[in-house]
């Protein structure tokens, strides 16, 4: 596994995503969701909203890194707020 060059932060990052996927799968089995129409212009399930949140978070970070020199945690906070609102009202 040496060639994969693992580091602690990336390992934690992937572990978190893996955990979220497992949680969503279990939630779906226990507590299935129906697609609903919220603020977004398309009907989404919980998994869809999670994916949209992740993608949006990635682009918020990219935009932040590209256009500002400030600390990255600002982008992370914006992403978290965005993700929460997407999951709740999206």
């Amino acid at each position: 596994m040496g060639w994969m060059a693992w580091t602690l932060p990336t390992a934690l990052f992937f572990a978190a995503i893996g955990l979220a996927l497992v949680t969503l799968t279990v939630l779906e089995l226990v507590w299935p969701t129906a697609a609903r129409r919220g603020l977004l212009p398309l009907s989404t399930t919980r998994g869809d909203r999670f994916f949209i949140s992740l993608l949006a978070a990635a682009f918020v970070h990219v935009g932040f890194l590209g256009f500002s020199d400030g600390p990255v945690w600002i982008a992370s906070i914006i992403s978290c707020l965005l993700a929460i609102s997407l999951m709740r009202w999206g």
Binding site: W3, T25, L29, T45, G47, F51
Partner: protein, 266 residues
């Protein structure tokens, strides 16, 4: 309802065919003749360029290498994609749509993104410069493509066929192999065609994952391009020859191909 083509179509087909005609034209002439004069018809057509390719081991081993990994890739893709496409077309299960999207995203991902880790991965497991390495690497886009095409064809077979077989008392495997697969053989043909094609045409991964012993034909061709004093006639002949396997495969699936395009799944 129009039954005759518009004149514009003839014009477009001339645009399509003239470059191909020029390739064939050049492949029948020797290098001195090509460089010497520009003529619409080969004055002294010969198959010397083709003979040169067939007699030169670099070219023929390139062809064999390419055909080997393409064949391995097509078999693997079809074997794993058939059950998956059946599951996607017939059942709803947890995460099915997300899984389908994830598969599709691999078909769309640029191979250049995977270049770096593939080189390390296949070197680490000792598969570098083997046919299997290229075949597995090409699975990245041929497997999702196969699932995507097969699912489209399977979805168009009515579910009542499944139910009828169950009522007739056929076992699941008898139904799948003797009734269902023959019913979608057109789709299987189209899938084989596209797996074959995309693996056959891919250059970037095939070039990066091979050294000397598994060098594919597409790489042999680009080496000829970059060498000084290119033999244009031989290059053109190689071009004509690499088109032929695709034409042979398309000939067998010609009746189903348009439906494959109609599904929007290529």
């Amino acid at each position: 309802m129009r039954t005759r083509p518009h004149w514009l179509l003839y014009l477009y087909c001339v645009y399509l065919l003239v470059p191909i005609y020029w390739l064939i034209n050049l492949s029948l002439r020797d290098n001195a003749d090509i460089l010497g004069s520009l003529s619409a018809l080969p004055s002294d057509p010969s198959f010397a360029n083709y003979l040169e390719i067939f007699s030169n081991p670099v070219w023929s081993s390139g062809f064999i290498n390419s055909l080997s990994y393409v064949a391995i890739n097509t078999v693997i893709s079809l074997l794993v994609a058939l059950p998956a496409a059946y599951a996607f077309s017939r059942y709803r299960f947890v995460g099915d749509r997300h899984l389908f999207f994830w598969l599709l995203s691999n078909r769309m991902a640029p191979p250049a993104v995977f270049l770096l880790p593939f080189f390390q991965l296949y070197s680490a497991i000792g598969l570098f410069d083997t046919h299997l390495a290229v075949a597995l690497a090409h699975c990245l886009f041929t497997v999702p493509l196969a699932v995507w095409i097969l699912e489209g064809f399977m979805a168009s077979i009515p579910r009542s066929l499944d139910e009828m077989a169950r009522i007739d008392g056929h076992s699941r495997s008898f139904f799948f192999f003797r009734i269902f697969l023959p019913a979608i053989r057109g789709g299987i043909g189209v899938t084989v065609f596209f797996c074959f094609m995309f693996s056959w045409v891919e250059l970037l991964l095939a070039r990066t994952l091979t050294g000397s012993s598994a060098k594919p034909i597409v790489v042999v061709m680009t080496r000829t391009v970059s060498a000084s004093g290119v033999d244009w006639g031989v290059l053109a002949a190689a071009g004509v020859l690499t088109i032929l396997p695709g034409l042979a495969v398309v000939y067998f699936v010609r009746n189903h191909l348009v439906r494959g395009f109609a599904l929007g799944r290529v």
